[in-house]
């Protein structure tokens, strides 16, 4: 999954490189860093947009065909401070970022205008937490389908993400398998 995200990052036009001996070759000449970066750190330097975001574990919750709403989840790690401005998807009438709030009276959802992505800190969209709501599915999604989500980031720009439709997060599935 991480590999796919990396490829997508490259496709989205965000130069990304592993700093080290050969790293300079993967970057446009005019943006070659003048300062040296410690070897082994993953860095990204662009020309106008000097940022990249890594996306992993993207999935969409499989729901019964009769249901027209579902949620998408993923983890984002921005290499430099960035902001997630919006998410869109062709499969639904509208897409909203939501945050889950737990209080004594129960769970409620609050629409999020934007989500801050501090540098090198993974930000998770996960069940029971932040999630992307797909409202008004145009047609039912089946398990195993792929959904393309388009993320709009302030610095890293537009990034497409492929999310698989599945029933449960990987952790829960692994947990269930242990018992079989």
């Amino acid at each position: 999954m991480k590999k796919i995200a990396l490829i997508l990052t490259l496709l989205a036009g965000q130069p990304i490189a592993i700093a080290g001996e050969h790293s300079v070759h993967t970057m446009p000449i005019n943006t070659m860093p003048t300062n040296s970066t410690p070897a082994g750190h993953l860095v990204a330097k662009g020309s106008s947009a000097s940022s990249a975001v890594m996306i992993s574990d993207a999935w969409v919750r499989a729901v019964p065909p009769v249901s027209r709403n579902t949620a998408a989840y993923f983890s984002l790690t921005a290499l430099e401070n960035d902001t997630l401005l919006s998410v869109s998807a062709d499969v639904a009438d509208s897409v909203e970022m939501h945050e889950m709030q737990r209080s004594a009276s129960g769970v409620s959802m609050q629409a999020l205008e934007r989500v801050n992505l501090p540098a090198m800190q993974p930000v998770h969209f996960a069940p029971g937490g932040n999630h992307v709501m797909l409202i008004g599915l145009k047609k039912p999604l089946a398990k195993g389908d792929s959904v393309v989500l388009t993320l709009k980031l302030q610095k890293a720009g537009i990034m497409p993400v492929i999310a698989k439709v599945q029933e449960a997060p990987a952790a829960e599935k692994a947990e269930a398998h242990k018992h079989h």
């Binding site: 919750r61 729901v63 019964p64 065909p65 009769v66 249901s67 027209r68 709403n69 579902t70 949620a71 009438d93 509208s94 909203e96 939501h98 889950m100 009276s105 129960g106 769970v107 409620s108 959802m109 629409a111 069940p127 029971g128 999630h131 709501m133 797909l134 409202i135 008004g136 029933e167 449960a168 829960e172 947990e175 269930a176 242990k178 018992h179 079989h180």
Partner: protein, 220 residues
């Protein structure tokens, strides 16, 4: 011959009685250690996805997993249902002795037909219930469930703020445990397994006669 019978009558009789007593001990209920939460719960009858009215008391003798939600719920409710299915299918009997009940507090959209189609996707044995606003208010009051429509809908979909507990009810319909979203399905599996130990069981080899599949130990 008479001497022989006299000599062996008591040893043989006692051995047989001892074996019978052993069977009873083997089949005896064991305490699950799960407290009875008497401050909430109670019987209810509601229209259901089976097409008929269903009462909780119909499921006496079975552990019940009960939850409250609505089918337009994008994140929480499908997650809860998936966790309940995952919890019961891991049981040695694959959940045959456990009934899942889903009560919708959104009767406008969740008709019994919608509930049937929605739940069948998770497991056709799950039963969905709903009713008039008054009926729903009464049941949710019994189980201290909170639900209120959100002021601003998501897109044009009305959402609810609601509690999302899973209630484990025992074979007498009493609330024994509540699970929040942090509790793993395996915890629920374990507790249902313990509840099933609380009733009289048929020792393994006698199941040949009764046709019941005994629980021969919890698979870890």
């Amino acid at each position: 011959m008479l001497d022989f019978a006299k000599k062996w009558f008591w040893p043989v009789t006692l051995t047989i009685l001892f074996l019978i007593a052993g069977l009873f001990v083997a089949g005896m209920p064991r305490n699950s250690g799960l407290p009875i939460l008497s401050k909430m719960g109670g019987d209810f009858t509601l229209p259901s996805s089976t097409g008929k009215n269903v009462s909780l008391s119909q499921f006496r003798g079975k552990p019940v997993l009960l939850t409250f939600g609505f089918t337009s719920c994008p994140d929480v409710c499908p997650g809860v249902l998936a966790r309940m299915r995952s919890a019961i299918e891991t049981l040695p009997d694959h959940g045959k002795e456990t009934q899942v009940l889903f009560v919708s507090f959104d009767p406008q959209r969740d008709t019994v037909t919608v509930l049937r189609d929605y739940l069948a996707w998770f497991d056709p044995a799950f039963i969905g219930l709903t009713g008039s606003e008054k009926q729903i208010a009464d049941v949710t009051h019994l189980y201290k469930v909170v639900y209120m429509p959100d002021a601003s809908p998501a897109g044009d979909s009305l959402m609810y703020t609601h509690s999302d507990y899973i209630y484990l009810l025992d074979q007498q319909g009493r609330v024994r445990r509540l699970y929040g979203n942090d509790d793993l399905p395996s915890q629920i599996t374990q507790d249902i397994y313990l509840l099933l130990q609380e009733q009289w069981r048929t020792p393994g080899f006698l199941s040949v006669f009764t046709g019941h599949k005994p629980f021969s130990g919890h698979k870890q």
